[in-house]
């Protein structure tokens, strides 16, 4: 197992606020890795640095041994990092199928000119993209609503469609930002089973942000806990569960 992603002393400051402070962790290939912490701990900020939305003030982020600093989000997507968003950001007016097709965009081989002329290659390419996208929708149990506009899908399905779209980029590392947020317990259960399947059947490396500790405990092999931008604990779930600093961060000092 090789290391896929490595954060070294990654720090970002917004004015006087240090949102993430000297964060260190390493994600080995093929693992389901959890990043948890109370509200405002800096989890999503860490995601945004990994995906190039923010540039770290100092420190380094390496993906497959190469620094990703200074790259734009679309370039990082090209390296093989895909993500979902905490507040769902689907292409609302496009169908579920079209959303997943855009996810596959990186695999396009035709030029814009051949698309404008609708050459046979462009026509064939869309057909293969539709096929791949339908397969992914099938895996995610969304195929029956492939032609529904994303904004008209029920909430739980929108969350799953976002994962489907990210998977369509064929990522080596999948970042999920609170995929269970706003879901009821039954939906959460299904989602967790799905995420576990992605890891077991498709050997997908996943970094999962979750606000709710119970959710990650069951499925992650390794967990990093953030509080006020700094790492306060790292290890397997049993160890995290009993760590006094984690309990303090979540429940307050009196406990």
């Amino acid at each position: 197992m090789s290391d896929l992603l490595q954060l070294t002393d990654t720090t970002i400051r917004f004015g006087g606020l240090t949102a993430v402070d000297r964060l260190n962790f390493t994600i080995p290939s093929g693992t389901l890795f959890g990043l948890i912490g109370p509200n405002g701990a800096g989890k999503t900020t860490a995601f945004n640095m990994i995906t190039g939305v923010y540039q770290p003030t100092s420190g380094d982020i390496e993906f497959k041994g190469r620094s990703v600093l200074g790259r734009k989000p679309f370039q990082i997507a090209g390296l093989g990092i895909a993500r979902t968003f905490q507040n769902i950001r689907l292409f609302g007016a496009l169908s579920a199928l079209e959303n997943v097709i855009v996810g596959g965009f990186l695999r396009h081989k035709t030029t814009l000119a051949s698309a404008l002329l609708y050459l046979p290659s462009a026509k064939r390419e869309l057909a293969t993209f539709v096929k791949t996208a339908m397969d992914i929708l099938d895996t995610m149990n969304l195929a029956d609503q492939a032609h529904t506009r994303a904004q008209d899908l029920p909430y739980g399905r929108q969350r799953r469609l976002e994962i489907a779209r990210a998977l369509a980029t064929n990522p080596e590392l999948l970042l999920l930002d609170e995929p269970a947020a706003g879901m009821n317990p039954a939906e959460t259960e299904d989602l967790m089973a799905l995420i576990r399947r992605l890891r077991d059947e498709f050997h997908q490396t996943i970094l999962l942000i979750e606000h709710d500790m119970r959710v990650v405990m069951g499925i992650c092999e390794s967990i990093v806990v953030l509080d006020h931008g700094a790492k306060i604990a790292e290890g397997p779930p049993e160890q995290i569960r009993n760590d006094p600093r984690v309990i303090e961060a979540y429940l307050g000092e009196s406990h």
Binding site: F74, L94, V102, Y118, E125
Partner: protein, 395 residues
């Protein structure tokens, strides 16, 4: 493969043939007399059709709010005007070849303009981008006023009249084909994704910066080609031909048609041009009926809206209520209004053309209230509407 090219070449041949036949017919039979006005309206519909379909690529499909489209139209027209008089005719180019040279160079120059406007669009969004494009439009117009070699405020006249409706219709077809082709490709989905959510598109690996610039370049190029055809149709162009209101009308066409819909842009371009031109010859209107019709329409709109809310009728029923109300307002307003003409204020007459823009604007407002998503929404015309069994539309 062979079948693909057979179908492709046949459809191109059919389009060219149709454009040629219709164009020749209109040009031959409507060249003089009162029919000439109809011919002119057909030309304007085609030109504005190209403008709105091309702006739809920038505004509707890629979601970059641009209100400087007249500038690209003007760049195309001025390039054609300047080069055709100064260069192309010296090379001995005439007729269709001259038009082709002008159209291509006009499109290229406008595309360069589109690239220049596209650059700031990387940093600007929404309202800010709109203001920047508006500014660009004004810069182009004012630049032309102040350059003597471009004719200054007098503009350029004596441009060879080589535009034929056949060629113009072919350009319309080409514009539509390019936009439709784009939407049927993976690249087209990328353009659409930028409109829907730029950050998410970026995260999916779409180079949003590059695609936004391409949208401006392609859209501007099409408008430039239309400008060149306009120059060779009108034979005179000046800075006044490209006021800001051209940009606004084209924008209105895109919005009224349904942002993102090629069909909508085209249909609303035709509707708005016909409306605008037909309103010119309404003759004179007497104040009495006018005021009363307006008043009754105003009250009637409230009544109809209230009825619809109360009874929630099916679409056909709602159309009936609105139609009945409007009909009642028109008939009753006219009949009673004529009685009122004994009072002097009500017997004044207006020339209808004075009210032209008022009626035009009210029409736009009404359409936007009744159908905020535009006439076609995001939908396109499809032959499948006539098919007995419907397949789900291609994505």
């Amino acid at each position: 493969m062979a079948r693909f090219w057979a179908t492709r070449l046949t459809s191109i041949a059919i389009v060219i043939l149709l454009a040629f036949v219709i164009g020749q017919y209109v040009d031959a039979t409507m060249a003089s007399g009162p029919a000439n006005i109809v011919r002119r309206i057909i030309y304007l519909c085609s030109l504005y059709g190209i403008l709105s379909v091309s702006l739809n690529l920038i505004n509707g499909i890629t979601g970059q709010f641009s209100i400087g489209h007249a500038a690209f139209y003007q760049i195309g027209a001025y390039t054609a005007g300047f080069l055709s008089r100064g260069v192309f005719t010296h090379w001995g180019l005439q007729g269709p070849l001259l038009l082709l040279a002008s159209t291509v160079t006009g499109a290229l120059m406008a595309a360069v303009g589109g690239w220049i406007v596209g650059m700031p669009s990387l940093r600007l969004k929404g309202d800010y981008l709109a203001i920047a494009t508006l500014g660009f439009g004004e810069i182009v117009r004012i630049f032309a006023i102040n350059q003597d070699w471009l004719g200054g405020a007098y503009g350029m006249s004596g441009i060879p009249a080589v535009t034929k409706l056949s060629y113009l219709l072919m350009l319309v077809a080409l514009t539509i084909a390019i936009c439709r082709n784009l939407l049927l490709s993976v690249h087209g989905k990328a353009f659409l994704s930028i409109r829907e959510d730029e950050m998410a598109a970026d995260a999916m690996g779409v180079n949003t910066a590059r695609y936004k610039i391409w949208a401006f370049v392609i859209g501007a190029g099409m408008a430039g080609a239309a400008g060149a055809m306009y120059a060779h149709f009108e034979t005179y162009i000046g800075p006044t031909s490209f006021f800001m209101d051209v940009s606004f009308i084209v924008l209105a066409m895109v919005v009224v048609g349904g942002t993102g819909s090629i069909t909508g842009s085209l249909v609303s371009a035709v509707l708005l041009i016909v409306l605008q031109e037909k309103l010119r010859d309404l003759g004179s209107i007497t104040a009495g009926p006018l005021y009363l019709v307006a008043l009754l329409l105003f009250i009637g709109a409230y009544v109809a809206a209230g009825l619809c809310r109360r009874f929630r009728p099916k679409p056909l029923g709602a159309t009936g209520i609105w139609g009945g109300t409007i009909l009642f307002a028109l008939v009753a307003g006219n009949l009673i209004g004529q009685r009122l003409e004994v009072i002097s204020t009500f017997s004044q007459t207006f020339e209808a053309y004075q009210l032209r823009m008022v009626i035009f604007s009210i029409t736009l407002i009404v359409i936007m209230i009744v159908r905020p998503q535009g006439m076609f929404g995001h939908h396109e015309f499809s032959w499948q509407l006539f098919a007995r069994k419907r397949r789900p539309a291609l994505p």
